[in-house]
């Protein structure tokens, strides 16, 4: 065990007969140090294997080159992709990324927000948990002018950055697609309505029905708390047991949509002919289930990248935190077999 001492700016100072201040400035390319000295110092620094002690700098600046991420769960495809985008962007800029998951517990979210704050993160990226109806625990960041970015699951009102997809339009388009396929009674798996994502998707669904002069039937709208596979099964069964079962289903996520496919198939219902289904997220399983699930895809990685950029920009430009900037990204409807009646019909016709 050979504990090699780290080289500090003081070592460089001695070696080069400069003061630590000059070393520090040279390493940071400060303009008040001549080109010649700067070059020389940087050269020797590299030679001696100098590596800046970020902790010392962080303490002095009261800010660590770190971006915090606070999400409900890491191991979901969509979230993992967001994190991936954040990490990539952050690392390129020399920032670390620290993560914390609340497991959808409100208390954890508060505790983790505190922990992030105490870690002096440069900025924080948040996707709200299921239980969160109040976001006051994030106010401390605004107060200290620490850039705060909400992504995907965001609070309705908050002076902060928000990076979201156009959930309303996505919901509208998904529903319209089903209508275009000839569906007349379209059901909807609606998630927890206090969350913007589910709320807006439902609004889009409702408006699409109305603007196509289709009746909105309350019994076709199934509220699912967590949008889990099990809930999806139950919801599907409930729908199929109706006197007038639906001929279309727009599910607010893929998990429930897939469970609907499997449940309906088990009952001998033909998809998409008798029941056309479209989900949301384009999870990997969507393209694997049979028939393959139509869905709405997010630019998840890009959302992560943008979120990180907002923080880096804010930090470098030293902006005031009291802004409210929303970045809304487009979604894409991906049509696969689970809703594609046209192709099916064509296939039937030509065969």
């Amino acid at each position: 065990m050979k504990k090699k001492k780290e080289v500090t700016i003081y070592d460089l100072a001695k070696e080069l007969k400069f003061s630590p201040s000059t070393i520090s400035r040279a390493l940071n390319n400060h303009k008040s140090i001549s080109q010649k000295t700067t070059k020389e110092i940087q050269k020797i620094a590299k030679q001696l294997g100098y590596r800046p002690n970020t902790l010392a700098a962080s303490l002095r600046n009261n800010k660590s080159k770190t971006i915090g991420i606070l999400i409900a769960r890491i191991n979901r495809p969509f979230i993992a992709s967001i994190i991936s985008g954040v990490e990539e962007t952050a690392r390129k800029a020399g920032y670390n990324v620290i993560i914390s998951q609340s497991n959808d517990k409100y208390e954890n979210e508060i505790a983790n927000a505190k922990a992030m704050y105490d870690s002096r993160v440069t900025g924080l990226i948040v996707s709200l948990g299921m239980e969160t109806r109040d976001s006051q625990h994030f106010k401390q960041f605004i107060d200290q002018n620490i850039p705060l970015v909400f992504v995907d699951r965001v609070p309705v009102e908050f002076n902060s950055y928000r990076v979201i997809i156009d959930n309303y339009t996505a919901g509208y388009k998904a529903t319209q697609h089903l209508i275009d396929q000839g569906c007349k009674r379209i059901a909807h798996f609606a998630g927890a309505q206090h969350l913007n994502v589910y709320n807006l998707r439902k609004k889009g669904y409702l408006d699409a029905l109305r603007e196509n002069n289709l009746e909105v039937a309350e019994e076709l709208i199934i509220d699912l708390d967590t949008m889990s596979f099990e809930e999806g099964c139950d919801g599907t069964k409930a729908l199929l047991n109706l006197p007038q079962p639906p001929d279309g289903l727009f599910s607010s996520n893929d998990t429930a949509a897939v469970s609907a496919i499997l449940t309906a198939k088990a009952r001998g219902i033909k998809i998409p002919e008798e029941l056309a289904i479209i989900g949301f997220n384009d999870d990997p399983m969507a393209s694997v289930v049979e028939p393959a699930l139509s869905t709405v895809s997010h630019p998840a990685v890009k959302m992560g990248e943008i979120s990180a950029q907002r923080i880096l920009e804010h930090s470098s430009k030293k902006l005031d935190s009291n802004i409210s900037e929303i970045t809304m990204l487009d979604t894409e409807i991906i049509i696969r077999s689970s809703s594609n009646r046209i192709n099916t019909t064509r296939l039937l016709e030509t065969s």
Copy 2:
């Protein structure tokens, strides 16, 4: 924007007429401070909303309460679950988790290892990238007695902690299962052989064949670089085009296994009757594909938890880094329809 000043131990010192040293010791429950003062100081600290500046402590101790994770990609179910386990364990102990992904690039892995080192992580958890054949860039951690834990994809020789699953036995069991189902010509999708996980799974496969007196046919062993969906499709086609195609397939991951299912089905091959398939990982898609994919499941979250624990233990017990401790966890064969000929037969018989 009201930048509230943070309360420091100096503020507490003034308030309570103690020296900063005493405050510091009291807050850390140091034994040389009386119970009475300790209680009092902690009480006032809470009252004034004191929050320790971890950066200052980290600088002084030259160690941040942080666990680093270095993996190839975050957005894979298995990896995300490991991270989840690490994060949960770390946070409970008051540690932060910083992540970095190499995207399977050797250069990135080296750079990220450096970055982690420079961040003064308490310990580092690593799952190697595809390109990594040499692990010398992790030696700096051992030299500085920073606990290093390799998880899942580990180097063969390295004085460090290693948390792995029993890949050999898993490969053996998976193959044996196919043999039990009556398969005689069992193919194998083998991953990059310089990685322990794929190497050992293949060894298990080979030994299972031999011990059952089944011929090892080279043409049935398909080497796939990345085990991607596309590679799996190609591999499956190659197998099916053989003069004597296989009647069983053990794929070293689920992605390729699923592609095999879809490819074979498209060719009209009956699964599992004509081709029984088993994968590896128990990704979400495994239970969704049709027929549902038999597979081998990992205790991924637990692996993350154990990895984090190793670091916390090592750090608190101040152990010497020059140890080599391997934790090997058991896997579980999950039998679903893609390989279950017995049930299928039974079903056929009874129907």
